[in-house]
């Protein structure tokens, strides 16, 4: 292994070197990356804003300073201000009593430079260059391809005579010192400076050109610049291309080697920035040096062909020459942050009003509490009801697909999704292939919904499958329920989330009849007893009976008779003949020759029609979400729940309480149909990503509500039930959505009249099928059950009764 390590280390070193080179080359090729340009552009604007009208500085200068300070706007501003407000020496002295060595050095250098600038006309000020004059093409435009005139030829500077220090590799002429070397040099230099500040100022820059470890980036540049420019003053622009990286590289690559002073400065500057932000033009102490001599010299001495000045500090902003560029100022309007802040400021008073109408002031309290919660989820404090009304989104409808096992529910839904292009051809082809390999080719479409191995190998749906599609008018959520009688609890869970139901019936001989004895009947009764009133009866597999009208009529008549007896209103029943496997009359209308007798809508059309007649959901009632699943939504969201909002609204940042665990959580994010949203309203099946709660406290069937109006736990309840089987005092499973619990019918209170609800008979010994009765059900464990909820009682695989909870006995406390 050691050899391996060595190799690895070498590799790392290589990487370093190469990356350096890459970097350098990149700079050579394109002077700035796009990012740099963008940064520069933004920076320039910011600096301009910061400087305000008090100081007039050219763009070029700003850019130059930004470049030197590596886009640090604050520093650049300070620097520019210092430069253009000459009388700042005194405030600086006052303010910077604890001047660090670095600062001393820097200020000393800067003063020395100032003296230089005084002696020479300041080029950058005297020369406010036109903004668009620095494009490379402009610069080179009068240069012939070959035979470049002598005065335009680049000057190649001499290589240093002493052995180059620093790291090996790299294409730069001036070696990049190793980090260690740089650090050592910096230290040494600092010591020197501390010892002799005045000498340093007078020292010949040439001496220091080699010990280029950087006191400050600016210093570094300046010294180098001086070094190079002094001998070649007449020929300003075409500096050897090789030199550029040297100067460029440093401001970018090296950090200031003396962190404490830098921190000091930056903290000073932060204050300054704050002041600037508050738009009080307070003179900033002169902490910064004037522009580099290099830059000054370049600008000042070669004024004759201004367009040819290709200063390494100047650069071309992308598209800056395009006239639109000037107009499109992205910072003209308020920033997105400002918009949010304003909205919050506006939202707060509104929310208070909303609270009064919604859930009282307690909610406001809980919201204010929530802000100190360590999970730190910010609520936008939206008035969700208003937002919902404003949003004007498409109608949303959830429907459950029910019916006897093997009547083709999943296949029909698979077909619907496939024809609506929700499922791609490719994935269908893939499913077909997989289905064929295990010899169940007809199951391919059902596999769109049946995704677990077990479901596929056994060919039955086990659990609810959810999928989405939309038409022009409505966004639908499909809840594909299992038909097998063992999975009726899952079907109940699905049906409890639905607004309406699609009952799938196999039209082929015997299938329909067996279904009517089995789950066709049970499912129809269940969806009805869960409050679903609108029903689409999809008479499926019409292709197997050759679209026989007689058979269809027979089925519709029988079903209509049965469903009306199950207290479905005939006007809410829609019969649709279709064929899921082949896809007739699902989304595409029937062809005439197949069934000339049928002129009605397609299944999709019927879905649209029915969804238009749905009642609105109780938005203003207290929030109730029945958890249908708890899962890990990813690394970001360790605890996520899905469920339908039975009533009320919620939004990101709300605190919720889960019952019966009695644990609170904060909504981190909400997803609706896999899209992130800010709020959710009753009727929607949403995914909530929670924070501040462990998954063990959440179980399917639990109810989530706001802490201000939590759901109560019941140890027993009295319900008005419609019996499907004989009801005796007996053990039952109590179902409510995903919730299921053990219970016991403790007392048969009375038999009631079906339509009036009056007591017909007290002292009941047995409730016969079809009778309506009032019973008391005791629960093995406390469950979140409230008056008005619909419950289903099952025993031994049979649905015994369904009912509405009238009163609940509270937990015995």
């Amino acid at each position: 292994m050691p050899s391996h390590h060595r190799a690895k280390n070498v590799a790392y070193d290589d990487d370093d070197v190469y990356s350096d080179e890459d970097y350098v080359e990149q700079e050579e090729d394109a002077h700035m990356t796009e990012e740099d340009k963008e940064q520069m552009r933004l920076g320039t604007i910011q600096v301009k804003e910061a400087l305000g009208s008090t100081v007039t500085v050219s763009d070029k200068e700003i850019e130059e300073s930004l470049w030197h300070y590596y886009y640090d706007v604050d520093k650049a501003v300070v620097y520019l201000k210092n430069k253009h407000t000459p009388k700042t020496a005194q405030p600086k002295k006052q303010k910077t009593t604890p001047v660090s060595r670095f600062d001393q050095a820097a200020s000393a250098v800067s003063t020395s430079k100032q003296s230089i600038t005084v002696s020479q006309p300041l080029p950058s000020i005297a020369y406010p260059l036109p903004y668009d004059s620095f494009s490379a093409t402009d610069f080179w435009k009068d240069t012939p391809w070959l035979n470049v005139p002598l005065h335009r030829l680049g000057v190649i500077t001499m290589e240093p005579k002493f052995p180059r220090g620093g790291l090996l590799g790299g294409s730069s002429s001036n070696p990049k010192p190793s980090k260690l070397a740089a650090l050592a040099a910096a230290r040494k230099k600092k010591q020197e400076e501390a010892k002799s500040v005045p000498p340093l100022t007078e020292a010949d820059p040439n001496q220091k050109a080699d010990s280029d470890s950087a006191v400050a980036l600016l210093d570094k540049l300046r010294l180098n610049g001086k070094d190079k420019t002094t001998p070649t003053t007449p020929i300003p622009a075409p500096i050897s291309m090789k030199q550029k990286p040297v100067e460029r590289k440093f401001p970018i690559r090296t950090r200031s080697p003396s962190p404490p002073p830098a921190a000091k400065v930056s903290s000073n500057e932060k204050e300054a920035t704050k002041q600037e932000l508050s738009q009080a033009p307070i003179p900033i102490p002169d902490l910064r040096a004037i522009p580099s001599t290099f830059a000054s010299t370049l600008c000042g001495i070669a004024p004759s062909p201004p367009k040819r000045q290709l200063l390494e500090d100047s650069f071309q902003l992308p598209y800056s020459t395009v006239p639109q560029f000037a107009n499109t100022n992205p910072f003209a309007g308020p920033s997105p942050d400002d918009i949010v802040r304003n909205a919050q400021a506006k939202g707060k008073p509104v929310k208070k009003d909303a609270n009064k109408t919604l859930t009282g002031d307690k909610l406001a309290d809980s919201v204010s509490k929530m802000t100190v919660d360590d999970t730190k989820v910010k609520s936008k404090n939206l008035n969700v009801v208003e937002e919902f009304e404003k949003s004007n989104t498409k109608r949303m409808a959830n429907f459950v697909v029910v019916g006897h096992v093997d009547h083709g529910k999943s296949t029909l839904m698979g077909r619907l999704l496939y024809d609506l292009k929700v499922i791609s051809d490719r994935s269908i082809a893939k499913l077909r292939k997989e289905a064929e390999t295990i010899g169940k080719s007809s199951f391919a479409l059902a596999w769109v919904m049946d995704q677990t191995d077990e479901e596929r190998s056994r060919g039955v749906t086990v659990d609810i499958a959810t999928n989405y599609f939309e038409t022009e008018k409505t966004r639908f959520t499909i809840l594909d329920a299992p038909g097998h009688k063992d999975f009726i609890p899952n079907m109940i869970a699905g049906a409890s989330q639905a607004d309406f139901a699609v009952l799938v019936i196999d039209a082929s001989t015997n299938s329909f009849e067996s279904g009517l004895k089995g789950q066709t009947k049970e499912h129809a009764l269940l969806v009805r007893s869960m409050g679903v009133q609108r029903l689409i009866i999809a008479v499926n597999k019409m292709d197997t009976i050759a679209w026989s009208e007689d058979r269809y009529n027979e089925i519709t008549q029988q079903m209509a008779a049965f469903l009306t007896s199950a207290s479905f209103s005939p006007k809410y029943l829609t019969f649709i003949p279709c064929a899921g496997l082949t896809g007739e009359n699902v989304t595409k209308p029937l062809e005439m020759q197949q069934a000339p007798w049928y002129t009605g809508p397609t299944l999709l059309g019927a879905l649209d029609t029915v969804s238009a007649t749905l009642a609105s959901h109780p938005l203003t009632k207290p929030l109730r979400i029945t958890i249908s699943d708890v899962f890990r939504g990813g690394i970001q969201n360790p605890v996520s729940i899905t469920g339908r909002l039975d009533s009320g609204t919620c939004q990101v940042g709300d605190t919720l309480i889960a019952m019966p665990a009695n644990e609170t959580a904060v909504i981190k994010a909400i997803e609706l149909e896999d899209q992130p949203v800010d709020w959710a309203v009753a009727g929607q099946i949403s995914t909530l990503h929670l924070a501040g709660i462990d998954a063990v406290h959440l179980r399917p069937g639990d109810i989530v509500s706001h802490p201000s109006d939590p759901v109560k736990l019941a140890s027993s309840f009295t319900a008005k039930i419609l019996a499907f089987e004989h009801v005796l005092p007996m053990n039952v499973d109590v179902f409510r959505g995903r919730l299921s619990g053990e219970g016991k019918v403790q007392k048969l209170v009375a038999v009631l009249d079906k339509s009036t609800g009056e007591v017909v008979k007290k002292k009941v010994r047995i409730v016969k099928p079809g009778e309506v009765a009032r019973v008391t059900v005791g629960l093995e464990r406390v469950l979140p059950i409230e008056a008005g909820m619909r419950v289903i009682l099952r025993e031994g695989g049979l649905t015994v009764a369904s009912g509405i909870v009238e009163t609940v006995e509270k937990e015995g406390k």
Binding site: T452, F487, L728, V745, S802
Partner: protein
């Protein structure tokens, strides 16, 4: 339970029995036998405080045979412990008469029981049953669903829920199938680990460690709706093979898989009444009781006046001699005999005696710790299958509500 000595006068039921509990199950029998007003003698440790003349106090724990007049009993089902408290009724060296003491009955430590108002027929029957030396059927059952498993031990007289396993299994979700599979694996492994902890495969038999001669493996029943039980069996097989777990491999042939309609414990009723299971368990009391309860429910559904439940109704039927020879069965929960009040107990004993002696009917005492007994308890603890139908047991109050039910159907808008 071993009957060490018995001196019971068959005529008036006076006398005592000395018993030695050997299995946890025996505690359950003792719980049913020992009533308030009974006189119980057992070994106990009593802390005795001695005060010396100098004023110094020392306390010692002294083993002593105490005789108490039972006032209340307390039975912990899960641990099988029975505590009997009452006043000391016989003089002894360390405790004063009338002082309270709670006797903790323990396995392998005999006790002597004398009935306060004599050994009645029910008590004698219980005693006989308790001392039945026949090999008792035992069965471990796991009633499970997705993410929930009830591990229980079914014995002749008890169904003891040993452990309830609940593991959150994510439902199937678009793009989240992994979670479901993983969750199920986790659930299976948790359930198997828990189960093995209770089964204690290393020793030949289950918790009947006292009888080392019983080395027959106890059957394990897996029941669930859907395919969970089958999948769990598959998981056990895979685990056993992979880990080469010999005891577990040996267990495999004795595993039964059955269908239940819910993952809750009360669907055991349904499991045990299924023909496949019945054939294997027909000798157990449980299965017989379950079958009897099912018969009762069927008759009740037929509503032909031959099945009645509730104390008053059943007593009425017995008075009329309807629970007699040729099919008359009285089903009674043993919880009724544990009634604290003596009159209450006498009432039920009298009922049982009447059915047995006068009518010649069959009497079945159902254990309140079995699911069938629980079902019976829901019906008031007592039910009867009659030999001939009786229509009007109820005293005719509030008759004539039948007319109302017809109207609702046509309206379409029901109150539900």
């Amino acid at each position: 339970m071993r009957l060490l000595k018995q001196q019971i006068d068959q005529k008036h039921g006076s006398g005592f029995a000395r018993l030695l509990p050997e299995e946890p199950e025996d505690m359950w029998h003792a719980y049913n036998l020992i009533q308030p007003t009974d006189i119980l003698t057992a070994r106990a440790y009593r802390r005795v405080t001695n005060e010396y003349g100098s004023g110094s106090v020392s306390s010692t724990r002294v083993p002593v045979d105490l005789t108490i007049l039972v006032e209340s009993t307390d039975f912990d089902v899960a641990s099988g412990q029975l505590h009997v408290s009452g006043k000391v009724a016989a003089e002894n060296t360390v405790v004063k008469l009338g002082a309270y003491h709670t006797l903790d009955l323990e396995l392998q430590r005999y006790f002597k029981l004398e009935k306060g108002d004599g050994w009645d027929s029910v008590a004698l029957e219980m005693l006989r049953e308790a001392c039945d030396t026949e090999r008792k059927a035992e069965l471990w059952a796991v009633v499970m669903g997705e993410g929930i498993a009830n591990i229980c031990l079914i014995t002749e007289h008890q169904t003891i829920l040993r452990q309830r396993v609940e593991v959150a299994v994510p439902k199937k979700r678009k793009g989240g199938l992994d979670g479901h599979e993983k969750g199920m694996q986790k659930f299976f492994s948790t359930t198997l680990d828990t189960l093995l902890r209770y089964l204690d495969l290393s020793s030949s038999s289950t918790n009947t460690s006292a009888n080392s001669d019983k080395d027959k493996t106890v059957p394990l029943l897996l029941a669930s709706p859907g395919f969970v039980a089958t999948a769990f069996l598959q998981y056990i097989k895979t685990t056993a093979t992979n880990a080469n777990n010999k005891p577990l491999l040996a267990l495999l042939p004795s595993i039964l898989v059955a269908h239940s309609s819910s993952p809750h414990l009360h669907s055991l009723t349904e499991v045990l009444s299924s023909p496949a299971i019945m054939s294997k368990l027909s000798d157990t009391k449980y299965a017989r009781e379950t079958a009897l309860m099912d018969t009762f429910y069927t008759l009740l559904r037929k509503d032909d006046g031959r099945a009645w439940y509730g104390p008053r109704e059943v007593e009425h039927a017995v008075d009329r001699g309807a629970v007699g020879r040729g099919g008359g069965v009285l089903l009674i929960s043993n919880a009724l005999f544990r009634a604290q009040s003596v009159e209450e107990r006498k009432r039920w004993v009298a009922l049982v005696d009447r059915v047995r002696e006068d009518g010649g009917g069959e009497v079945r005492v159902l254990s309140s710790l079995h699911e069938s007994g629980r079902r019976l308890e829901g019906l008031g603890g007592v039910a009867a299958i009659l030999t001939f139908p009786i229509e009007d047991i109820e005293d005719g109050e509030e008759e004539g509500g039948q007319g109302g039910s017809g109207g609702g159907e046509g309206d379409g808008e029901m109150i539900i």
